[in-house]
Each structure stands twice: as structure tokens, then as C-alpha cells.
Subunit: 147 residues, 2 copies
């Protein structure tokens, strides 16, 4: 496991405990599975992956865990393609990326940009709205699918 994934896992367990949640098997399995992915995974992929475990994790538990993790700011939810959500860990150090999604092959290319973050940060302060998160998705075609 990479260093950041490991520290995320610890951070996540700490935050869950902090929130007064007990440590059940299903949620623990979801956290571990998320630690194993470096970019967004869909809930159903996770479900597939965990359904095979001994003991198997139920779909409802996967969704439940993801929702709680999202609420605690531990994972980020993004729309990966028409009507399906992807989930990925949020780096506790605040470092994060966004995605370019290819309309032809569905491939997701992560990127980060400080100017973009700065613009959003400033905007968040100026608006009459309490911003807790943001999504940026670039849509188009990846270099492999370009004409």
C-alpha cells in the first residue's frame, strides 16, 4: 500500500472513532477497499469487490459506509458517467485533484491545478453560501480517442 493510502486509512479510522461510530466489519472493509484505489471507483465496483469477501459485505452496507465517509469529509463523490457516482479518498493534507473524463472511452484522467483551486477558494469566500466542497469535471476526448 502506498504511503498516502496508509495514512488516509489511519486518518479515516480515527475520524470514524471521533464521530462516535463503532467499528463494524463492513465499514472497515469499505475503508480498506478505498485505500486500495488511487482514483474514483463506483459503488457497484466496490460492492462487487466486497461481496466476495469472507464474510461477504452487503450492498446496503457499502452505500451506507460511503455516505458516512462522504459526510465526514473522508471521501469525495463525483459523477463519472451519466448517472453513476464514483468515490475516492480525500487526502487529509488537503491535497486533491479533479478529473477529465473522455466522452468516448470513459477514461478518467486526474489532474490538479493551483490556479483553479485559488479561483474557487476566493469565490467561496465571496459568495453568500457556505461552501464545503467542490467538483470540477472537464469533458471531452482523451488523446487516445482524438481523431
Amino acid at each position: 500500500m502506498t504511503k498516502t493510502a496508509e495514512s488516509w486509512t489511519e486518518h479515516a479510522f480515527a475520524a470514524l472513532a471521533e464521530a462516535g461510530l463503532r467499528k463494524g466489519g463492513a465499514r472497515t472493509a469499505v475503508v480498506e477497499a478505498l485505500a486500495g484505489h488511487d482514483c474514483a471507483v463506483t459503488a457497484l465496483d466496490l460492492d462487487d469487490e466486497l461481496r466476495r469477501r469472507r464474510p461477504p459485505v452487503g450492498r446496503a452496507s457499502v452505500y451506507r459506509a460511503l455516505e458516512q465517509l462522504e459526510q465526514l469529509g473522508l471521501v469525495q463523490r463525483i459523477e463519472v458517467c451519466r448517472g453513476t457516482a464514483g468515490y475516492e479518498r480525500i487526502d487529509p493534507a488537503g491535497h486533491h485533484h479533479h478529473h477529465a473524463i473522455c466522452r468516448d472511452c470513459g477514461r478518467m484522467i486526474p489532474f490538479e491545478d493551483s490556479k483553479l483551486e485559488r479561483a474557487i477558494g476566493q469565490l467561496s469566500k465571496e459568495m453568500d453560501f457556505e461552501v464545503t466542497g467542490h467538483d470540477v469535471v472537464l469533458r471531452g476526448r482523451c488523446e487516445r480517442c482524438a481523431d
Copy 2:
């Protein structure tokens, strides 16, 4: 009808004709309905609105029309809340806005920001990816729902 909505309607019909599409009743109704909304509407809201027309428009036709309009760059599709899409006109002059969505009441607050657009524009040029569109969604709580 507002000035921009009117010009969008004309622009849309012209683009549809340009694309070699015939002018059927259902698609025309969808275009007119979209012109009547200044911010994103869900497909089902449109369906509801159009189902009551004389003659009524079928759901399949609504989705079909929205997809074509999206393909032609006439409407923009955004995720308004977990798993439901909203559609809104794209101003032919290129002027566009993004949305802040309240996690409590679901209200959508449109905003625009030139710094943000500039950051995205530059990023699009630098990336090894042909960017054709982008979504930005701020999530959090609106001032009415804030503690």
C-alpha cells in the same frame, strides 16, 4: 419570454435545421419548454410539463430531444442531486454560469466567475486532452439553511 431565451430558441431551431433534422412536434415542444426556464430543469420536470400538452409529448421523446440538444451544444447537462440530471440552455454568445447546490434544501444558486473560467481555459490548453466542456459545482449550504 426574455431576450436571451428568445434568441436561444431561434439559435436552437437554426442549429437543428442545420443538422438536417426535421421539425417534429415533440422536439419543438422541448425547445420551447427549455426556453421558459432560466436555470436547470430535470428531464422528469420537463416530461411532466409536456405530458399535459395537447397533444401530449412522450417521455422517450423528451429524453431523446435533450440528448440531441446536448450533442449539438445547445443545452448543458449537470448533475443536480444524487443521480438526477438537470438540463439548461447554453447561451449562444458563450456566456455561461455554474451552480452552487445546497446540500440541505437542494436549492441551486447560479453564479459566474471570470477568474474561474480563465483558469479552466488555460488548463484546457495545457492538458493533453481535447476539452469540449466543463462542469463546476460548489457544494455546501445556502444562507437560508446555514445554522
